[in-house]
């Protein structure tokens, strides 16, 4: 019996969003009379940070403090249409829709402020702290709350904006077979070190090292949190999770968390992450979004690491001890491929 170390590498080129009949998302922004802004979305925050990121994007575009912005993702019956939180599309699609809606709301807010200050709206700027003032003359100012209040109680304006971001359906060119299904790609590379027990077939992960290029990290801590957590979802798909580990049929498959395996806190290993920021030309403030790509490179990297360790090429996930052992037996023993 021996433990074999192996190292696997994977690189991915990851498309943001999807191409099934067009990929739109909408956003609506309005202020209440106190100058707080509500962003209405139907895009659900699953814990990945959609609310935080769209709130930042709205505040940045409106020119108001982030504390003055609320995001409501409560109900797809009453909210504006969104394709949904999937395909790693949230930050990119919804963020762009929020920018468009916030721009329109901002222009009405500045018109209202201009009317109160008796100036041209084009001469007004926001300080991001809740004030609007004449460019070069900070003393000629009005708060965003006063401007929004005046809009609604004196001027009869709605300080509001509509936004939609659409990546239209890209048809396949019948002549060339070409299409442009996505406009934005993110990238990642990952190295996984594993140890394989050639007696039990068990694979344990020793360390992960990765680099992600995902546009501008609009909220760096949320990006990091996604990458740390998502990698273990990828690891879980690579090494543990399946609905069909048992024989002879699905009736003998797992029905609970005792049979459907996921990593516990004792299964994790160190993961060093480098984040490279190359702002996307068509992304909201350059953002692409980590999304599903947090998990994706782990799977091929683990499979490659197992091959490197014992010479067994697994082509069906997950990498269960049984598959590893069968592979080792078929090869007449472990065949380490040498250090990488």
């Amino acid at each position: 019996m021996a433990l074999h170390r192996g190292r696997g590498f994977a690189a991915i080129n990851y498309p943001i969003g999807m191409n099934l009949g067009g990929d739109p998302s909408q956003a609506l922004v309005h202020s209440n009379p106190g100058g707080k802004f509500m962003v209405a979305l139907s895009s659900i925050d699953l814990g990945q940070g959609m609310k935080s990121v769209t709130r930042q994007i709205a505040a940045e575009t409106l020119g108001v403090p982030v504390e003055d912005v609320y995001v409501d993702t409560a109900d797809s019956d009453t909210g504006p249409h969104c394709m949904g939180s999937f395909a790693s599309r949230g930050t990119h699609r919804v963020g762009n829709a929020v920018i468009e809606a916030a721009k329109e709301a901002r222009s009405v807010m500045l018109e209202a402020a201009a009317e109160e200050l008796e100036v041209d709206p084009a001469d007004l700027v926001t300080d991001g702290k809740g004030n609007i003032h004449v460019k070069g003359a900070p003393s000629r100012s009005i708060s965003t709350a006063e401007a929004c209040g005046a809009a609604q109680f004196k001027q009869g304006r709605t300080v509001s904006g509509r936004g939609i971001f659409l990546i239209p359906l890209s048809e396949v060119d019948p002549e060339t077979g070409e299409q442009t299904p996505v406009s934005c790609f993110a990238h990642a590379a990952m190295i996984v070190d594993v140890e394989v027990d050639d007696e039990t077939g068990e694979v344990s992960v020793l360390e992960m090292n990765s680099a992600y290029e995902l546009g501008r990290a609009l909220n760096p801590r949320l990006v990091e949190q996604q990458l740390v957590g998502g990698a273990w979802m990828g690891m879980s798909h690579a090494a543990w999770e399946t609905t069909e580990p048992y024989y002879p049929d699905r009736d003998h498959g797992p029905i609970d968390f005792n049979g459907y395996l996921m990593p516990g806190p004792g299964d994790i290993a160190k993961h060093n992450i480098a984040i490279l920021e190359r702002p996307a030309p068509d992304g909201p403030y350059g953002g692409k979004g980590p999304g599903e790509m947090c998990a994706n490179p782990v799977l091929p990297a683990v499979v490659n690491a197992v091959f490197n360790a014992v010479g067994v090429r697994i082509d069906e996930l997950p990498v269960t001890p049984e598959k590893v052992l069968r592979g080792i037996r078929a090869n007449g023993g472990a065949q380490p491929q040498g250090r990488r």
Partner: protein
């Protein structure tokens, strides 16, 4: 079905409810007294999100018969903060981004509190052991482990209890 009176202490206040034979503690907490902080996850003791403290010890409330807590002290996540002041564990979870969807968080917090109450200076291995019955899908556990270790180091933990 017979209904029986049950009295216990929930986060320091007395509760008196009627429970049915075989009703579990999680159901009594959520539906009987309206404390929605313990979550229903798997319903069979495998995921840990329904964890509550009974006389300071962590228990899976989905597997605990309600009748067995007569006269005992139950602590849930609702009892951690003191007014507007978050418990040091809650603060450390926030600071370390230890929650994403948040569904495992109540169980994690209480498993962690039980650990720190009996072992104020845990090792990383102690923390892993303490939360090994709690499944988290989003975080990869590392931020949770870091948060618990940070809370243990914080000066506020002792007086908060």
């Amino acid at each position: 079905m017979a209904r029986k009176p049950l009295q216990f202490h929930l986060n320091g206040s007395e509760k008196a409810v009627f429970v049915e034979d075989g009703q579990n503690l999680l159901d009594v907490l959520r539906r009987g007294v309206g404390d929605l902080t313990p979550k229903y996850g798997c319903g069979q003791g495998a995921c840990g999100t329904c964890t509550v403290l009974i006389d300071g010890e962590p228990h899976l409330s989905c597997l605990t018969l309600a009748e067995t807590v007569e006269g005992r002290q139950i602590t849930t996540t609702a009892g951690l903060a003191q007014g507007a002041d978050l418990h040091p564990l809650q603060k450390a979870f926030m600071d370390n981004f230890a929650a994403q969807c948040g569904y495992c968080t109540p169980g994690m917090l209480l498993a962690a509190k039980a650990l720190l109450d009996r072992n104020p200076n845990p090792s990383r291995e102690d923390v892993v052991e303490a939360i090994s019955g709690n499944i988290c899908r989003c975080t990869g556990y590392e931020p949770i482990i870091d948060a618990i270790l940070e809370a243990a180091k914080s000066r506020g933990f002792r007086q908060f209890g």
